[in-house]
C-alpha cells in the first residue's frame, strides 16, 4: 500500500505558498452551507474552531471538560518557539526548521516541519493581537529566552503559564464565535465513536457526561484535536482526562496510527513517592539552565545531600557531555537519569531520583536572582514535596510527557480517511522521534490557525458530498455499538477498580516500553498486557448507571481503549529495528550508549492499520526523504 503524503513539489521554502495557491477555494457564500465538527478545545481545537467559524463555516465543537478553557494545553509552562530573530542572534526559519528536524532525530517530514517554522512567525503576531500578555523587555518589546537546549533565544513566554495564556487567547476567539452563533459549543461531551459513510468521516457519536445521553452529530468533515495519549502510562505529566479514545476509535474505523511508540519522557519531574500517586508534576525544563544534576558516586550512598562532599558527587551530565552539560535534549537527559538509578546511585526514599542542585547558582548570582527566575517553580516544588529547594537540592526523575505518535496525516493534515483531519498532539506530523521544548504549542496553533482553514477548504471544494443525516444506518449502528459497550462494562461487576487496572497497565508499559526497551522485555510486556486486559474484561467493577454523571464509567471506557491500544504501541516498538530519539532499543546503541539510528532501514514513518478485533494490525511504511538536510548522528558531547 502506497501512502500518499501529498507533499507539494518545488523548493522547500516555496512548497506551502505554492500549495495554498493550488488548493481549491470554497466561495464565501458557500461556506455557511458546510458543517464541521471539531473535537477538542486545546490550542489546536480552539484555534481551529475559531478560525473556521470566522471564515463562515458552521462549527460544532466538543470537549470533555466543563469549559473549553480547561483543555490540557492550559498546563504548558515553558513557552512557544518562533523564528522571529528579534534577538539578532542568528535565528531564522531555516534554523528553527533544522533544529526541529535534528531534534526529532530525522524521523519527521521535511516539508511539514519547514511549514511549521514558517508559520511560527505569524502565531506570535496573532497572539499579541489577541492580547496574550507575553513577557516584555524593559523597552516594551517582546522578550525571549533560550529553552530546551536551543542555542538561540527564540522562546516567547508568559511567566510560567504560556500554555494558559495562549489557550485563553484561543478560548477568547472561540467565545467570540459562540456569541456570534457560528460555533455551537458542547462541553462535557465525550466522543465515543467516529461515523464513516462511504469511506468518509461524516460524524461522531458522543456521550453527554452529565445525563449519560448518547448523541449523534453529522457533518461534512470531522477535525480531531483530542491531544496526546501519555496517560496510557497512568503516571504522567498529562491531565487526568487526556486519553487515546477519540484517536483510537478513529483508528478502529480505519484511520491509520503512526509511530505509536514515540513517547517523550521529560527529565525534570517531581519523582514518584507513593502507590496512591495519581499524577507527576513537571518542573519546567528552564531549571536546567541554572541547576546542576548530580548523584553520589558511590552506589547506595544514603547520606543526606549536604553531607556528601564535592569529590564524592558525580555530575554525570557535565562529565559525559562537556559541551552541552546539563542542557542536553530531553531524551538524553532522561535516559542518563535512569542509567544512574539503575546503577544504584539514585537518591531519595525510592532510589528513583537524582539531584538538581541550585547551590552554585545561588552562590554565584545570589538568592534574589534565582528567586526572580524560578520563584514560582520553587514554590510549587515546596508545596508538593514539603522541601525547600533553596536549601536542599531538588529531587527529580523523568516522567512521561508527550506523545509524538498519533494518527497519520498527509500534508493537508487529513488522515487516510477522507474528511477526517487531525491536528495538534493527536497527529504524528512534526516532531519525529523526539519533540523539542516549546514546539508543541507552536504546532497546535499553526495547525489550528493557519493550516486547517486552507486545507479543509481544499477538501470541501474538491469533493462531492452527499447529504447525510443522523438517521443513516451507520449512525444507528455506531450508537448501538456504543450502548452495548457501556452496558457490557457496567455489567462486569467484578472486584477490582478501573484505576487499579490502569495503575498496573501503566507500570508494565513504564518498565518495558518506557525510557529503554529491549526485544525480550517488549515481548513480555505484550503478553502481560494481553493477560491483564482479559482480567479487566472479567473483573472490573464500575458502580453507578449509564444514564448519569458517572466518572467511574468514563474512566473505565478510556482505560479499555488504552488496553486495546497498548499492544499496537508495543508492536511498533518491536518492529522499529533501530534506536532513534525517544525510542531507545538497547540492542541498537553506539559505543557511548547513545541511540543508534539505522537510516537505511529506519528512515520511515511506521503506519499501523486496524485489521479487526483480535487480529494483529498491519504495518505500512511511509518512507522519509531528506533532500535538504544531511542526516547526521546527533552528538551533544
Amino acid at each position: 500500500m502506497q501512502l500518499d503524503a501529498k507533499i507539494p513539489g518545488g523548493p522547500l521554502a516555496e512548497k506551502w505558498d505554492r500549495h495554498r495557491f493550488e488548493l481549491k477555494l470554497v466561495s464565501p457564500a458557500n461556506k455557511k452551507k458546510f458543517n464541521i465538527i471539531v473535537v477538542g478545545t486545546g490550542l489546536a481545537g480552539g484555534a481551529a474552531s475559531a478560525s473556521l467559524a470566522e471564515l463562515g463555516y458552521n462549527v460544532k465543537t466538543f470537549c470533555i471538560q466543563d469549559s473549553p478553557r480547561r483543555a490540557h494545553s492550559i498546563a504548558a509552562q515553558g513557552g512557544i518557539n518562533a523564528a522571529k530573530n528579534y534577538q539578532n542572534d542568528g535565528d531564522s526559519v531555516w534554523r528553527l526548521f533544522y533544529d526541529t528536524i535534528k531534534g526529532g532525530d530525522f524521523r519527521a517530514r521535511e516539508a511539514n516541519v519547514y511549514r511549521l517554522a514558517q508559520l511560527s512567525v505569524n502565531i506570535i503576531d496573532q497572539c499579541v493581537a489577541q492580547g496574550v500578555p507575553f513577557a516584555r523587555d524593559y523597552g516594551g518589546l517582546l522578550a525571549n529566552r533560550s529553552f530546551g537546549g536551543a542555542q538561540v533565544s527564540r522562546t516567547f513566554y508568559a511567566k510560567g503559564q504560556t500554555g494558559q495564556q495562549l489557550l485563553l487567547g484561543a478560548y477568547g476567539a472561540l467565545s467570540r464565535q459562540i456569541k456570534a452563533g457560528k460555533v455551537t459549543m458542547f462541553p462535557r461531551r465525550e466522543m465515543m465513536d467516529l461515523v464513516v459513510i462511504n469511506g468518509r468521516a461524516r460524524g461522531i457519536v458522543t456521550r453527554h457526561l452529565i445525563t449519560g445521553e448518547i448523541e449523534t452529530h453529522a457533518a461534512d468533515a470531522v477535525v480531531l484535536c483530542s491531544g496526546g495519549y501519555g496517560n496510557l502510562f497512568y503516571l504522567s505529566t498529562n491531565a487526568m482526562s487526556s486519553n487515546v479514545s477519540a484517536a483510537f476509535r478513529a483508528y478502529k474505523r480505519g484511520a491509520f496510527f503512526a509511530n505509536p511508540c514515540f513517547v517523550q519522557i521529560h527529565p525534570t519531574c517531581i519523582p514518584v513517592h507513593g502507590h496512591y500517586q495519581s499524577k507527576l508534576t513537571l518542573m519546567s525544563e528552564s531549571l536546567r539552565n541554572d541547576g546542576r544534576v548530580w548523584v553520589p558516586k558511590k552506589p547506595g550512598d544514603r547520606r543526606p545531600p549536604a553531607e556528601i562532599p564535592e569529590e564524592e558527587r558525580d555530575y554525570y551530565l557535565e562529565n559525559k557531555y562537556p559541551s552541552f552539560g546539563n542542557l542536553v535534549p530531553r531524551d538524553v537527559a532522561s535516559r542518563n537519569a535512569k542509567e544512574q538509578c539503575d546503577m544504584g546511585k539514585g537518591v531519595g526514599e525510592t532510589g528513583l531520583a537524582v539531584y538538581l542542585d541550585f547551590s552554585d547558582a545561588i552562590a554565584r548570582d545570589g538568592r534574589k536572582a534565582i528567586e526572580k527566575k524560578y520563584g514560582n517553580l520553587f514554590q510549587m516544588y515546596e508545596k508538593i514535596t514539603g522541601e525547600n529547594p533553596y536549601e536542599t537540592p531538588m529531587k527529580i526523575y523523568p516522567a512521561v510527557h508527550y506523545t509524538m505518535g498519533g494518527l497519520w496525516v498527509d500534508y493537508n493534515l487529513m488522515s487516510n480517511l477522507e474528511g477526517l483531519f487531525v491536528l495538534g498532539e493527536a497527529n504524528f506530523s512534526d516532531h519525529g522521534a523526539n519533540r523539542l521544548g516549546a514546539s508543541a504549542l507552536m504546532q497546535g496553533l499553526a495547525d489550528g490557525y493557519f493550516i486547517i482553514p486552507y486545507t479543509i477548504g481544499g477538501y470541501l471544494a474538491g469533493t462531492v458530498l452527499e447529504q447525510v443525516s443522523t438517521d443513516h444506518p451507520e449512525f444507528v449502528d455506531a450508537v448501538s455499538g456504543v450502548k452495548e459497550r457501556i452496558d457490557r462494562l457496567l455489567k462486569t461487576n467484578g472486584h477490582r477498580t478501573a484505576d487499579e487496572f490502569h495503575r498496573q497497565l501503566g507500570k508494565i508499559l513504564w518498565d518495558y516500553c518506557g525510557m529503554a526497551r529491549n526485544d525480550e522485555g517488549l515481548a513480555k510486556a505484550r503478553q502481560m498486557v494481553t493477560e491483564l486486559h482479559q482480567e479487566f474484561l472479567e473483573d472490573v467493577v464500575i458502580p453507578g448507571s449509564a444514564g448519569d454523571f458517572n466518572q467511574s464509567l468514563e474512566k473505565a471506557a478510556r482505560i479499555e481503549d488504552f488496553f486495546e491500544f497498548a499492544p499496537v504501541m508495543i508492536d511498533d516498538a518491536l518492529s522499529r529495528r533501530e534506536s532513534c530519539g525517544c525510542h531507545f532499543n538497547e540492542a541498537f546503541q553506539t559505543e557511548e550508549n547513545e541511540a543508534k539510528r539505522d537510516d537505511e532501514h529506519g528512515c520511515h514513518v511506521a503506519v499501523w492499520e486496524y485489521a479487526g478485533q483480535n487480529e494483529p494490525p498491519v504495518l505500512h511504511r511511509e518512507p522519509l526523504v531528506f533532500e535538504n538536510v544531511e542526516l547526521t548522528q546527533r552528538s551533544y558531547k
Binding site: 484555534a47 498546563a75 492580547g131 487526568m240 513517592h273 495519581s278 477498580t497 466518572q551
Partner: protein, 251 residues
C-alpha cells in the same frame, strides 16, 4: 512517611434536582504526602469496592492550572492554605483525628451537578460577552509594532492568570463574581490592544454578570484572600474605573 486518620463529612447529592445530605466517611491511613484529591481517590477506591458510588468531584490537571477542581473544605474555598487549589493542597497540612467538612461551591449561578461538582458555565457566558479582543485570524501586524511597557505587561499577566475555578464566588459572602470579571477587564484595559473595545466590554460583561444571578461586591476582600492565584482586588477597582468611564463619562 507519616500517615493520619481523618473523618470526612461530605456533601452527597445524586443530581441537581435532588435534595442533598452530608455523609460521614472514615479516611484511614492517609499519607501526609498525598494531595487532597488523592486522599479522596483513596476513599473513592474503598467506596467502589464496597459497591457504593464514589464521591463525584471535578479535577483534571492536578497541578493547579486548569481550574477544574475546587470545594469548600471546613469553610474555606480550596482549603485553608493560601494561594492553593484543592489539587495542590497536601495532607501534611492536616492532623491526625481531624474532621473535615467538604461542600460544593454554593451560588445561585453555579448549580450543583452531583456531589461536589457544580456547573460553572456562567463564567463562559460572561467571557462570551466580550472577554476577548475582536481580531480574526490572519492579518495581525508584527508583534513588536505595539510596545507594551514591561510593568504594564506584568500587571496584565497577573490579572490574566485567573484559572476560572470559581473560588472567588464561593468565598464571597455575597456570591459575587467581581474578581473574575475584574481580572479579565483589567487584562484588556491595561493592554493597548484592548482599548478600542474597552467601553463595550465592561458594560456587556457586567450586564451578564448581574443577569446570571451573581451577588454584588461589597468589598469584603474574601475573594482576594482565597484566590489560588492571588489575584488582587486592585483589579476590581480598575474595572470600576472602566465602568465609570464607560457608563457615566463617555458620550
Amino acid at each position: 512517611m507519616k500517615s493520619i486518620n481523618l473523618t470526612l463529612k461530605v456533601w452527597r447529592q445524586e443530581r441537581g434536582s435532588d435534595k442533598g445530605r452530608f455523609e460521614t466517611y472514615d479516611a484511614t491511613g492517609i499519607s501526609t504526602d498525598m494531595s487532597f484529591l488523592e486522599m479522596l481517590d483513596v476513599v473513592n477506591e474503598r467506596l467502589t469496592l464496597e459497591g457504593k458510588e464514589p464521591i463525584a468531584f471535578d479535577h483534571d490537571c492536578r497541578e493547579g492550572i486548569c481550574g477544574m477542581c475546587g470545594a469548600m473544605v471546613n469553610g474555606y474555598a480550596h482549603g485553608h492554605e493560601s494561594g492553593t487549589t484543592l489539587c495542590q493542597l497536601h495532607m501534611r497540612h492536616f492532623s491526625d483525628g481531624d474532621t473535615i467538612v467538604i461542600e460544593p461551591w454554593r451560588s445561585r449561578a453555579f448549580k450543583v451537578v452531583k456531589d461536589l461538582v457544580v456547573d460553572r458555565s456562567a463564567f463562559d457566558k460572561i467571557i462570551q460577552e466580550g472577554g476577548y479582543i475582536s481580531v480574526n485570524t490572519g492579518g495581525a501586524p508584527d508583534g513588536n509594532t505595539i510596545p507594551v511597557p514591561q510593568d504594564v505587561a506584568e500587571k496584565a499577566m497577573d490579572a490574566a492568570s485567573c484559572i476560572g475555578c470559581g473560588a472567588c464566588v464561593a468565598a464571597c459572602p455575597n456570591g459575587s463574581a467581581m474578581l473574575f470579571v475584574g481580572a479579565k477587564i483589567s487584562q484588556f484595559a491595561l493592554l493597548p490592544q484592548g482599548r478600542p473595545e474597552a467601553k463595550d466590554r465592561v458594560l456587556a460583561m457586567l450586564n451578564m454578570h448581574d443577569e446570571l444571578g451573581f451577588g454584588n461586591c461589597s468589598n469584603e476582600r474574601e475573594c482576594e484572600a482565597r484566590c489560588p492565584k492571588n489575584i488582587s482586588i486592585v483589579n476590581i477597582a480598575r474595572m470600576n474605573r472602566e465602568f465609570i468611564k464607560a457608563a457615566l463619562l463617555s458620550e
